[in-house]
């Protein structure tokens, strides 16, 4: 189970926190405490395994176990939260079963669209391809992340070397934890700056944009059928309004009632409600108590 997803869930629980000891779900920060305790336990095991007198084989095994623990802790960072949501696996399976991930020319989404619903079929094909591309890019990100964690864990184990036999106090554990974070961030920075990572991230975002575009187009079809306003229609109206505003702004001032220059004043319709102004939180345009003009000293 990935920590980040649990942390997210834990934060969501903060909206309805419970006092410690209350029945039900753990308090919001429990997941962090849990992570810290697991870290401390793994660190203790590692130190025991590396203690003076341990055989080379047991030391190597302790290092590997510890390294694996660290990697497991963060393994699913690039697994998107919705990947574990109901329906996601089916959606991917559907996409692959219909050919978006299969060989060319063999499945429904690789065939030319025909007939009355041709446009709709093509839209679904494009959506399926985008879904496949997102999945593929996400796997590349996940691989890079996994490599990063391996590198970070390896650097951390090397940095610890043979730990001294001093007792592992809470303060010492925190210091070790901070060292781990340093190692992890350093390894991640190297990955995050790499071409491979930038390419995978861009591919993921770009495929997501395509999927959203096709999904929106599908939603618009339904909106039209139900005679609901579509985003395109609203955008068109907004554009028209914008052009009109620009034309009004560009119109030369001709009468005394028009401002030839200077900023606009707040229209009445945009002023804060009287109740808000009375509360002193959102005041309307102030009664201008002029200060004497200040000049350059």
């Amino acid at each position: 189970m990935d920590d980040l997803w649990r942390q997210w869930q834990a934060f969501a629980q903060l909206a309805t926190p419970r006092a410690p000891g209350a029945a039900g779900a753990p308090a919001g920060f429990a997941t962090f405490e849990d992570a810290a305790e697991r870290f401390a336990a793994a660190t203790r095991s590692f130190r025991d395994g590396m203690a003076a007198g341990a055989s080379a084989a047991s030391a190597a095994a302790a290092a590997e176990t510890f390294s694996n623990f660290l990697r497991d802790q963060y393994a699913d960072f690039f697994k998107m939260p919705w990947a574990s949501a109901p329906g996601w696996a089916q959606a991917q399976g559907w996409s692959q079963a219909h050919g978006a991930g299969a060989g060319p020319g063999t499945a429904a989404f690789e065939l030319p669209a025909l007939g009355l619903t041709r446009e709709h079929q093509e839209r679904m094909q494009r959506a399926a391809h985008a879904l496949r591309d997102m999945d593929e890019a996400q796997r590349r990100l996940q691989r890079l992340w996994s490599d990063t964690l391996r590198e970070a864990a390896s650097a951390y184990v090397s940095r610890l070397g043979s730990p001294a036999g001093a007792p592992l106090t809470p303060e010492a554990t925190y210091k070790l934890y901070d060292t781990w974070i340093d190692c992890a961030e350093e390894a991640y920075a190297r990955t995050a700056h790499s071409e491979a990572f930038c390419d995978a991230l861009a591919d993921y975002v770009n495929a997501g944009s395509r999927l959203r575009r096709e999904s929106s187009a599908g939603a618009e079809v339904w909106a039209k059928l139900l005679d609901l306003p579509t985003r395109h229609e609203v955008n068109t109206l907004a554009e028209r309004l914008r052009v009109l505003e620009e034309q009004v702004r560009a119109r030369p001032a001709t009468g005394a009632g028009e401002h030839a220059a200077g900023p606009e004043r707040t229209p009445i319709s945009e002023r804060a409600p009287v109740s808000e102004r009375a509360a002193g939180r959102e005041r309307g345009p102030r009664p201008r108590a002029r200060r004497p003009p200040k000049g350059k000293p």
Partner: protein
């Protein structure tokens, strides 16, 4: 195990709100609000200072709490401080462009202040993306800006350390934005991904391992509130900013145009104070430092502090050093 005391302190801090200095709204346009802060010290003999914050977070970070407030520090120095709050764009703002923000909104705020105070020019303090806006405005209207202060402001978007820039360079921004806005949550996810181990785990463990000290926890909660109180970004302006700055680096390459007018930094001769955070992970120091070679100003001061991006305006060290430095620099000009 989290102590009951810590739990109580956290629970008590849930509702603490940011913002400590008295202010009044003096102008608004659309969602923009222009605030003027009430003076708390003997007025300094300098023109008013307009703070231009970024679009990507809320400007109350400038005035978080009494001991962490750049604005309060500036007021203490006697400065007459104004602040632009860009508001929360919604779907109706999706076609708002950079030109709208800079020429109409920032420009309108400047005109309001100048008219009210009977001045020809004021001082501008641009923070992060707001620094880019301030630079553009100053380049287009140098007659209205007496002195310019840029704080953690990206100028060269193609420096080696700029991870955000590397990430977005291959993204199809047209498709990403489409005709909509970009959600604040998406941007936050991006920012967290810059340092995922520190920002998604270590900082919370640090919170838990400290004392159940109310001021410390309230400070943490206010910053936490600010970090995730991220407005959506107006689609058109976001697209322009990412393509023109991050992808094409137009500001540094001197080929930026706004509403058909060239934003040329070379003729900019006004005094400039450039504040740089040496440990800034969002705006690499080299990105900000590039400003000096692009402007024509001979009165150019760089102040590098050993701080991060956010530390530049909320750290204890920043509180001690930044407001007096800005006030002294302005007073000398």
């Amino acid at each position: 195990m989290m102590s009951p005391n810590l739990w109580s302190a956290l629970a008590a801090a849930r509702h603490c709100v940011a913002g400590c200095s008295a202010k009044e709204e003096v102008w608004r346009k659309g969602k923009l609000r222009l605030y003027r802060y009430r003076s708390i010290a003997k007025p300094a003999a300098t023109p008013p200072l307009l703070i231009v914050y970024a679009l990507v977070n809320r400007p109350y970070m400038m005035d978080l709490q009494e001991d962490r407030s750049l604005i309060r520090g500036l007021l203490t120095q006697g400065l007459d401080v104004y602040l632009i709050d860009w508001g929360y764009p919604d779907g109706a703002d999706r076609f708002t462009t950079l030109s709208d923000y800079i020429e109409d909104q920032l420009g309108g705020a400047v005109q309001t202040i100048l008219q009210d105070q009977g001045l020809d020019a004021l001082n501008l303090l641009g923070v992060c993306q707001g620094g880019v806006f301030s630079l553009c405005y100053a380049a287009l209207h140098p007659e209205h800006v007496r002195n310019l202060v840029t704080m953690v402001t990206p100028v060269d978007f193609h420096t080696r350390a700029d991870l955000l820039s590397k990430w977005v360079r291959k993204i199809d921004v047209e498709a990403w934005v489409a005709n909509g806005n970009v959600s604040g949550d998406t941007l936050n996810q991006l920012f967290l991904s810059l340092m995922p181990f520190r920002l998604t785990q270590q900082k919370y463990l640090e919170l838990l391992r400290g004392e159940a000290d109310a001021p410390r926890i309230e400070n943490f909660m206010r910053v936490e509130q600010w970090i995730f109180d991220s407005p959506d970004q107006a689609g058109a302006a976001f697209r322009e900013f990412v393509v023109w700055m991050y992808q094409e680096n137009r500001l540094a390459r001197n080929c930026l145009k706004l509403a058909g007018r060239a934003v040329d930094l070379a003729p900019l001769k006004l005094p400039i104070l450039n504040l740089i955070g040496k440990r800034d992970h969002l705006v690499p120091p080299a990105s900000s430092a590039a400003l000096q070679r692009l402007v024509g100003s001979r009165d150019f001061t760089t102040l590098e502090l050993d701080l991060g991006h956010i530390g530049m305006y909320v750290s204890a060290r920043a509180q001690r050093e930044v407001p007096p430095a800005i006030a002294a620099w302005l007073a000398a000009r």
